[in-house]
Chain length 364, copies 2
Amino acid sequence: MDRAGLDALLLTTPPDVFYVTGFLTRFWESPARPWFVLVPSAGDPVAVIPSIGELLFSTTWVDDIRTWNAPDPNDDGVSLLADAICELVPEHGVLGVPMGLETHLRMPLADLDTLLSRIAPRALGDATAAVQHVREVKSEGEVSAIRESCRIAGVAFDRVPEFARSGCSLDDVFRAFQIACLQAGADWVSYTAGGAGQGGYGDVIAPATQVPLRQGDVLMLDTGLVRAGYFCDFDRNYSIGPPDDDVRRAHAALHKATDAALAGLRPGHTASELHMLMAGSLVADGATPCGGRLGHGLGLSLTEWPSVTPMDRTVLRAGMVLTLEPGVQIAPGRILVHEEVIVLRDSGPELLSPRAPTDLPVLD
Amino acid sequence: MDRAGLDALLLTTPPDVFYVTGFLTRFWESPARPWFVLVPSAGDPVAVIPSIGELLFSTTWVDDIRTWNAPDPNDDGVSLLADAICELVPEHGVLGVPMGLETHLRMPLADLDTLLSRIAPRALGDATAAVQHVREVKSEGEVSAIRESCRIAGVAFDRVPEFARSGCSLDDVFRAFQIACLQAGADWVSYTAGGAGQGGYGDVIAPATQVPLRQGDVLMLDTGLVRAGYFCDFDRNYSIGPPDDDVRRAHAALHKATDAALAGLRPGHTASELHMLMAGSLVADGATPCGGRLGHGLGLSLTEWPSVTPMDRTVLRAGMVLTLEPGVQIAPGRILVHEEVIVLRDSGPELLSPRAPTDLPVLD
């Protein structure tokens, strides 16, 4: 914060607030109320929150909790927040707000305008780097939490043959998979995605339909389940009946690309160099890499910066948790993706997800 | 939009985008990428979206889909969006953005600044009322979808005696309840909350702990499960062993307050008058209403406007889906809440949730 010239941070999103305070609740699902945490460059944080959160917030280490009865159509916490900012930030100081890539401000835009006029001449500054630089390196406690989420998902993936076979509809498979995640110990399942199609799927973000699986389909399931506030994010592929040669080759190429990253990645590499490691391996194998990013940060949300793309020059450091997510296009509209979770150590990647099998598992 | 003087809307959040386009995905869970939909005051919408969403978006009714390879640290869709706005909004026109109560803009703040300079002299206008006035009245198709979500949750609530009893830990009860929701047909369970405590609970937003239920506890479970993109949101209370008299009285007062709203609410009442109906019934029964809101809109997100508070003067109209959520304080730190879902008809409320039993159910 000092380097960025920020006198305080204003945090408004679930992961930023949880990171600083330990305040964990699914109540964020309700968009009705804004929540604010101020972190001064010296001294203790101040929470400016709806009164419905007071009791739970009082169980965190934050002592200075100021509440209002939200939602208030006349003043939804803005005056209370402005007063707190004026206490913490000198008159010609700067209030840091994450405003860069992969951020958003979780409060009404009109209230931001009012706030800025109330706290003038204090200025806003970009706190994206200040927040991300700290959050992107995980503590050992955080690594353990992510490892545990990955372990739980691994147990659920191992059970997929129990409920996915030819004739099962994809939406029922998604439901059964979420049930398996909960039975294995997930607190909740914030994200499930997947796809299924003959010799590869077209899309990895569509909700499941009632179309039944059939021989020749490749099924992919992906999950971001949550345990103790921390996400996992990895996927697994399954072939319904024996896979075609091109599917088998694509799966082998993906596995090899992940191996290349597991073997070659070191602290000091950039995200774009990690992209090159995996894309290069795919191309060397005669495969066509998918256009999108081939991995990303992970932790308090399903995806975090950096992005494993040719454009992201973020330097990867020991302690970062990342997904390795190579994807190949087998033919137009037919892709195969694969994902693992690692923590980067001084010596290279340590897997947090149980490694996918070398050969594509075959279901009935 | 004409009345508000808006030449186009810029929509960025999952419910607004789904409402206009039918684009439904859990991929919003990833905060990495912004998504934009422009709705001109005349003519067809334009989607400006990350290329990863192109295939799924092409299954909606929107024909004009413009994509970029997100996340792009140099230009994350801003130029593409600015060009589209300049096509749709006249040079001295106004771009509407929801910026009022219960809204936020899901894009980086720095990108908004860049966008505004690119589209100048076009101005921003507040689209909150324009969006909310349309979205708050549900079509019969939407009412059916919410009714189905409520029915599914009702099946899960009926199964609570199977997995909640003295000695069970609250986190396992939460897991089992989510499993029951999925088994009953939920596509996913975006929200589960609850509480348990001797003679009432203190908090309704805390995540579950491993504390076991014991005789004398009141258990509350609340869910916002999703089916076909639509939420339910209601809760049920259970007594572990026979309830004390004050718990029994509180539950009866809550049930009666809901009855008062079911009998007395009519289109034309304001949200504050609905608050008065329920709070008045509680007070007449000698109970102390909780300070927060006693209900809210519901549909594409867990909570929507209006808020059933003394301050919200929104006029309630036929077709609105609302929760009735009276709460009472039995003693400091001991509350009891209750919630049902209704659609307001010309003749009064129609229940969408299966009505809670008059007497508090008793578990072992």
